[in-house]
């Protein structure tokens, strides 16, 4: 071989070797930088990206070296062109292969994070593989100058059909990705939707998210709805009580005693012997029946002596009895009797009510009913308090204290013994429930609890 022949061989080989060395050096520099930047970003897919692209990155330098070597070689022009096309095709195939590997690994990473079952993962990965493969084949066909339009039309029609058929599922799946990527919430968080659903996130699936509500129901919410709705994330639960607070409600039946009073002495006589449930009824009836009125509705005795006997002084004295001062119905009865006896001592002349407006003594019979609501912490408590009935609030504030002989209202008792929230318990205990509407009372308690947990 002549010296010229050796040069014709050595130069292309040297070029290939040079690109190999440059490729190794460039890979080292580029990937060191990339690694540090992605680490700073905290992106979970950095490992997948780096591992998947390191090999191809070097391979592309090799292809480039071969291409340059061919171009500087002494080969015929038509052979150079064919070699160039083959190398370009290899490059396209490597790109497609890399995209397939990369997307498969990233999908696996994220779909597992949102607990997608294995079968859907397989479907999605295969779908992506096929899509990329078809795309690569189309590019190659086009690159080699063969017609691709008919194939594209057929494929477009097929894809459109699939998209239309699975649009809801696709919307949910992509919303699931968005929720994970956006870190809107995570499992264990307490969330509240604009559409009023609320509860703890128990499972984030590829199409739906499961929420356990405060009444222990599990509701399934499509991810696409979650993406569209307003979500308030209250985060992780607060300190839990070992004994959850069970909300009860109570419903009342009015039992007629058949006893009547037409004058103050008759009222006094019946009061002395009436059961506690009668005293309870007539000191709380107006408050309960007209709970939307404020301020401080009077007891039935005060109202009756004013309306039917026209005795404003006695009415004022009876209205002034502060029910909250008494921890038992017996003590409350004694206070009422004392007021009436003192009045009769000064005004012994009795007025008589007209027929039809006598005082009818009624007894309160209640049914205490458990609700499905339990609160283990103050967040749960306040959210349940927003939705329970007025009867439930009434039971825990009034009925339990005076009628069921608890020393305090139920809320304060639980906060003190179950959560150690003594200050909050004291604040609620100090509220005077008789001077506000029940809705007003509900709002005040909610405000106090929210202030504590913010």
């Amino acid at each position: 071989m002549t010296q010229e022949s050796w040069i014709n061989i050595i130069v292309p080989v040297a070029i290939v070797l040079a690109f190999l060395i440059i490729g190794l050096w460039a890979r080292r520099v580029v990937y060191n930088n990339l690694q540090s930047k992605l680490t700073k970003m905290g992106w979970g897919g950095r490992g997948v990206l780096i591992q998947s692209t390191r090999g191809p990155f070097f391979f592309w330098f090799l292809i480039l070296g071969c291409y340059v070597a061919v171009q500087v070689s002494i080969l015929q022009e038509n052979i150079k062109e064919i070699a160039g096309r083959v190398l370009a095709s290899i490059f396209i195939i490597s790109i497609i292969w890399l995209l397939m590997i990369l997307t498969e690994r990233l999908l696996n990473l994220y779909l597992i994070e949102i607990k997608t079952p294995s079968r859907p993962i397989r479907y999605i990965v295969n779908g992506v593989r096929i899509t990329l493969l078809v795309l690569g084949v189309l590019i190659l066909i086009d690159f080699w100058g063969w017609p691709v339009t008919p194939i594209i039309l057929v494929l477009a029609a097929a894809i459109l059909t699939v998209i239309v058929a699975t649009r809801d599922a696709l919307a949910d799946i992509f919303s699931g990705f968005e929720l994970v990527a956006g870190r809107t919430f995570k499992e264990g968080d307490f969330i509240k939707l604009g559409s009023s659903e609320e509860g703890y996130v128990t499972d984030m699936g590829w199409r739906n998210t499961l929420i356990k509500t405060l009444d222990q129901q599990t509701i399934v919410i499509p991810n696409s709805k979650l993406v569209r709705d307003t979500i308030t994330n209250f985060g992780r639960p607060l300190t839990k009580s070992s004994q959850p607070f069970r909300f009860f409600t109570r419903l009342q039946l009015k039992e007629l005693t058949g006893l009547r009073a037409a004058s103050v002495p008759e009222l006094l006589k019946v009061l002395k012997n009436a059961p506690d449930s009668v005293i309870y009824y007539h000191t709380h009836n107006f408050l309960e029946e007209h709970q939307y009125l404020t301020p401080e509705p009077a007891n039935d005795f005060a109202l009756w002596v004013y309306d039917s006997l026209d005795l404003p002084v006695l009415s004022e004295k009876l209205a002034n009895i502060d029910t909250l001062e008494y921890t038992s119905l017996g003590a409350l009865r004694s206070a009422i009797i004392t007021v009436i006896e003192r009045y009769l001592a000064d005004e012994p002349k009795a007025k008589t009510a007209k027929a039809g407006v006598e005082f009818n003594f009624i007894k309160s019979v209640i049914a205490v009913i458990p609700t499905p609501y339990y609160a283990s912490d103050l967040r749960e408590f306040v959210e349940i308090l927003r939705k329970i009935t007025i009867d439930s609030l009434y039971f825990h504030i009034f009925e339990s204290r005076l009628r069921l002989k608890s020393k305090s209202n139920d809320f304060s008792t639980w906060m003190r013994t179950g959560l150690g929230e003594n200050d909050l318990a004291d604040q609620i205990e100090k509220l005077v429930p008789y001077t506000t509407t029940l809705e007003g009372l509900r709002s005040t308690i909610i405000r106090q609890v929210e202030k504590r947990i913010k």
Partner: protein, 417 residues
């Protein structure tokens, strides 16, 4: 047993349809109470499937009870005209009117009652007997057992003593009696409960109407939609004091430009209706602002529209049973002026949910106050609507019945379910 023919509209109303009105929790409570009665049969017995307040409320209530899982059934007694003439006399006498009931008539009442007792098969765990007509069924208690409840729908606060004593001998054998108002209660050795009647917010008479529907009714009767409208809805009966309403209206009209509508029907069993109507027309004379409307009994939509168009609603009765027209008016958020009689004070707390009056002058004064103070009138109307929402809707009525059925046989004052 006779087939029950309940208006189809009532079947279409679902218990959950009431949730937007009373709240979902209230409906959930009803469902829970219903579960406590699972497996029990509640057998209602009264005198008719149609016509009258008892049939109307049962027509509405039975489908709701069944939807709540309660096996509620309904049977009616049968009788000839003589029998029902006697029970009509009972009805009037128990409400305080003077009636002559002979011993022969009492004997016929007992005889027909026994025929019904032989004919009608008892299947209930709780026998729910309505009003005096089937009251003698209690004689079956020794052989049949179970729980027996007498539901008295009428005002027995001042009954004719002879008829009351006759009825009472049966009442005292029941396990419990139910009255609609506290002053209807009697000294009885059995437990007595107060369960007020109710209105159905989804019925034709009480449902929401569009402005167009209301205007159509006003146009039909030639009423001015721009002029304050005072309305009293009640049949033409002296006890409803239509003349007193006109007197009060004309007193108030001197200071306020307004119009009055007296709308009602005539009862076929009340021969006085026609003469009262004639007197009312004569009293109204040529006053162009007073309209006397004789409307058929089934004109619920028109009554609804007139109430909703009203600025003030009157119920100036001299005597009243429970007076559910008050709840109907309050439910429409209207300020009401009413006499303090019968069950009206249960629905109106003076100056809080309406205005009570005791005279024509008092009614005129109250009307002037309301026409001159629309904000005050609106506040009374708002309070009144809330009061009805909580105490006089059919859901509360159903709840009370369910609670009563559950509490039968329990002596405790606090029952844990």
């Amino acid at each position: 047993m006779t087939d029950i023919s309940i208006n189809e509209q009532h079947f279409q109303t679902k218990i959950d349809d009431y949730a937007p009105v009373v709240g979902k929790n209230t409906i959930d409570e009803l469902k829970m109470l219903g579960r406590h009665l699972s497996g029990k049969v509640i057998q209602n017995i009264n005198s008719t499937y149609s016509g009258g307040g008892v049939a109307e409320i049962l027509n509405r209530m039975m489908p709701l009870l069944n939807q709540l899982g309660v096996d509620a059934r309904w049977d009616v007694i049968q009788g000839n005209n003589d029998f029902f003439d006697i029970t009509k006399k009972f009805h009037n006498a128990l409400q305080g009117q003077s009636e002559q009931v002979s011993d022969d008539e009492l004997a016929l009442f007992i005889e027909v009652s026994h025929q019904n007792m032989d004919r009608l098969k008892l299947v209930g765990d709780i026998l729910f007997i309505h009003d005096p007509q089937p009251i003698i069924f209690i004689e079956k208690k020794p052989e049949y057992g179970r729980q027996w409840v007498w539901r008295c729908h009428i005002d027995v606060s001042r009954p004719d003593s002879r008829i009351w004593e006759f009825i009472k001998q049966f009442v005292v054998r029941y396990d419990a009696a139910i009255f609609s108002a506290p002053n209807f209660a009697q000294q009885l050795p059995i437990r007595q409960f107060m369960i007020s009647p109710s209105i159905d917010p989804l019925s034709e008479k009480n449902r929401e109407l569009s402005r167009g529907q209301i205007d159509a009714v006003l146009n039909k009767y030639g009423l001015d939609a721009e002029k304050p409208l005072v309305v009293q809805i009640s049949r033409f009966d002296r006890l409803k004091d239509p003349i007193g309403v006109i007197d009060a209206f004309e007193m108030a009209q001197k200071s306020s430009d307004c119009q009055l509508v007296l709308a009602g029907g005539t009862a076929t069993d009340d021969p006085e209706c026609a003469s009262v109507l004639s007197e009312v027309r004569e009293r109204a004379g040529s006053n162009p602002d007073i309209k006397i409307l004789l409307i058929p009994p089934e004109s619920d939509l028109e009554i609804n529209a007139l109430q909703r168009a009203a600025t003030v609603i009157f119920q100036k009765s001299l005597r009243e049973g429970f007076g559910l027209t008050i709840s109907e008016a309050l439910w429409k958020g209207k300020p009401v002026v009413a006499s303090a009689v019968g069950g009206i004070p249960l629905q109106i707390k003076n100056k809080l949910t309406g205005l009570l009056c005791y005279s024509v002058e008092g009614a005129a004064y109250a009307l002037r106050q309301l026409l001159a103070n629309p904000d005050y009138a609106r506040k009374l109307g708002d309070n009144g609507r809330e009061h009805v929402r909580q105490h006089f809707l059919i859901t509360r009525h159903v709840r009370d019945y369910l609670l009563l059925f559950i509490s039968l046989g329990k002596k405790e004052e606090v029952i844990y379910l």
